[in-house]
Symmetry: D2
Subunit: 138 residues, 4 copies
Amino acid sequence: MNTYTHTVHYYETDKMKITHHSNYIRFMEEARVDFLAQTGYGFDKLEEDGIVSPVMSVTCDYKHTTTFPDKIEIEVSVVKCSALKLIFGYTMRVESQIVATATSSHCFLDSKGKFVSLEATYPELFKMLQEMASSNAK
Amino acid sequence: MNTYTHTVHYYETDKMKITHHSNYIRFMEEARVDFLAQTGYGFDKLEEDGIVSPVMSVTCDYKHTTTFPDKIEIEVSVVKCSALKLIFGYTMRVESQIVATATSSHCFLDSKGKFVSLEATYPELFKMLQEMASSNAK
Amino acid sequence: MNTYTHTVHYYETDKMKITHHSNYIRFMEEARVDFLAQTGYGFDKLEEDGIVSPVMSVTCDYKHTTTFPDKIEIEVSVVKCSALKLIFGYTMRVESQIVATATSSHCFLDSKGKFVSLEATYPELFKMLQEMASSNAK
Amino acid sequence: MNTYTHTVHYYETDKMKITHHSNYIRFMEEARVDFLAQTGYGFDKLEEDGIVSPVMSVTCDYKHTTTFPDKIEIEVSVVKCSALKLIFGYTMRVESQIVATATSSHCFLDSKGKFVSLEATYPELFKMLQEMASSNAK
């Protein structure tokens, strides 16, 4: 999978002259959207199928500050993939230096807000994510 | 009508150490939401009735910079009110000094995206806004 | 200490019709700023003294969705307070239902970016926070 | 000059399921930053030289809604360039349909906040922008 690059915008900085920490949560979403599109199961497809994937939790560890106009390269990995829960990991780098590491966990809901099994609904995607999770664990 | 106060948040500043200019467009929305709630025709009621009021245009003139944690007092006025178009004016002050003046124009659409006449749908609101517009013009 | 209330703005929602998850990280900052102001050691005072307090990490668990115009009541607690690290906890409620719990950890830096001991610089604040942390642990 | 493309992010949509109108003001900044970088006088260079270019005013006319994950192509033009004031125009398109037109006006300040003449400070940039403005006026 290709990494995703976010170039920090001026409006994403704050008066400490650095990228405001809340924005990394948004960069994670951008990278996740790009990652899923690469699997062939993009947000568009999921939404067409009436499936939404809300965020259940996030964590982010800030290692080094970044600022406008840094190019943050984001590597997405699958930390865990079970029928009802998917956890992504994120490693963010600027010129090969790690600036932040993060995770986000997700579930899948149908249009009525009921839990959907990723395994049953998208068996191929599920298998792909599980393989990524296990190769990642090694 | 009461003015609306927005206290500038740290995350709304940028590396110039001032409130990022794009945020004033958001403060205008906050003030507009508060203004409509005061008329008794809040966003909640409109959405319940299946009516949305998209923004057709905005203008904003920045007079003085603001920053965290300034309290921006926003006065909303009705610049123009016709059956299909509503224009709001905004005067933003910090400690009585004008920091920005702005306008936003709006139309009203039903759930199918068709234009709705404010005069026909909410005659009382329409009358109230027209009176504000004419007293404002004096 | 008083809790902090954030009213969800229209622009903080997303096309899932809920408050976008990244915004809770911003609400945490708002509540933290308010909390520190209540201790008498607000961001203003710290910045006057040339001290900045960057965020080292955040976590947020989303329990229930919120949306415009929900009033989110945020209770801030001190999870841990050592000389070099301060961890805040956040409990967010809408009408007494918990919608999210979160943490953020912080250090203190002088104008040259060197670590500053909270205990040495602000002994009274340090004592206050430590007492809060220990009463919180009970 | 090359046009700039902004792909609408999920977090830039609102509960009307469209790109929130305030974000276009940010897209304008992105396109302007890219435009200036193409002239060889990027924000980086200006800031190195101790010059900041605050926004004096903005206007934006919304023609068609956009949403995630539309690709908005932004064409920047020079509407006016005098010694003390620079006005940019923006035409935003999705698949060749105009979705918004906008303007922003700017001045140039030194590190003490005093007005700087663009003509005196950057004569080559000034000449380039003036030629763009006059060819644009034809």
